[in-house]
Amino acid sequence: MEVFVAQLLNGLSLGSIYVLLVTGFNLMILVARIIQFAYPHIVVLSMYACWEVLKLTNNAFLALLSCIAASVILNILSELIFRRLTNREGVDINVSFVISMGMAMVITDIMSHSLNYGFPITFPAFWVGGSLIRFGLITLSKGQIYALVGSLVTVLIFFYLLYRTKQGRVFRAMAENRYVARLIGIPIVKTSIFSYIIAGLLGGFIAILFSMLLGSASPNLGEFVALKVIAVSIVAGLGNLKGGLVCGLLLGIAEAMAMGYISGSWSNAISFIMMLMIVLIKPQGLFGTQI
């Protein structure tokens, strides 16, 4: 019973990070019409930026700022690359997948060779915080609480933006029918760029929460996470925002349960087993694709 609760908490906190990542990923699919495989890599690189600033200045506020700034800048740079491929109707989504895999490789290489000599980075103790609750096997660290609460708040803000503001309406209109959105006078390129900025802001937040949850990062982290984000997205249905919320948490819990009850290395395979099953049984995803 204790193992179950402990792993449930672990799963929820990890899952809440997956939820945010899938949300940013889906935003790119829906508005920018790209599959940004390197989205988690950009998040990890922002974690490196945060760590670097923390090391240099020991100023938490500056570190937070630089994390978000790094993510926004990297996403805007990727927009410039994807725009080169744009024809009138948007980037061919399959081409964008391949290009983003290339981006992912480049980012991973930068982290493996140039940053911290390729060694994993660890965040200082004050950043991660200690455990807050101890109850037998069940521990809840500050980082996990940050991840859970931060993720909840971010999701609420994101959905508020999408469903209660003018810009959100415009995003949804572009996601539904880019051509008609253009006809009624919505500036397509400007709005698309703005979606990259939003994804960048979100990515910065994710990097902060993730660094607090894990306490460390390594060059391979992006790779690991990116494959799982794709898996979650496929299981939920590509572009399905609400489905992503559910499936992100589901995967986190499933992985944690696997870690708790089966041997550790199976937890990585869980996401792919889920993905394979869904593709065989219901290929449009549990909640339906939205592209």
Binding site: K166, R169, V170, R172, A173, E176, N177, V180, A181, R182, L183, I184, G185, I186, P187, I188, K190
Partner: protein
Amino acid sequence: MKKNNILKIKDLSVSYGPIRALKNISLEVNEGEIVVLIGANGAGKTSLLKAILGIQKAKSGNILFLGSDITCKATDKIVNSGICLIPEGHVIFSSMTVLENLQLGAYYNTHDMNKNLKKVFDWFPILRERSNQISGTLSGGEQQMLAIGRGLMSNPKLVMIDEPSLGLAPKIVSEIFNMLIELNKEGYTIILAEQNAKKALECGNRGYVMETGKVALHGTTQKLMNNSKVRQAYLGNSV
């Protein structure tokens, strides 16, 4: 009494790759008119409207709107300057509510939003009733009204409507056309592209008959309705 010129198109040619969709089109629209474009499917009516809006780039010729050249401008700037297109097939954003669709129409006019909403709801009371309904659940006629309402939200100086009768029952078609005449009486300048030549000519002031990308005939709708070629080809009368 001289009317102000709203739109002047001179020698416009548009090609889709090797296909010449529009060949040296010249056309004029003056303030307060309903100008109709009639012609068969593929004659170039939609291509012309798309060219005016900047969706299709002109190969040659120019388009003047209120005196300024809009030929190579971006679509969003053209819409912002006062032209709206209500596209063929009453296309609305079906996953969004009626109100959200209307709000989208006012992208550049947010400060007049409530005033324009009230105007549109007065024109189309059924939309006020259904304002929080998902627009995919509306009937065809209601969706067409929503598409028109959305266009009006931008306070356009020129309203272009493409095939409003498509896919609608005759009774609804009559309602829509009566609505267009009422809108015109209110002061809206309208370009109407229609395959239903009879209905279009009945409600318009002037018309252009398009055939394979060219203007074959133009004049007042009275003159066109009495023209034997038009009657034979489009109005179903045998000469």
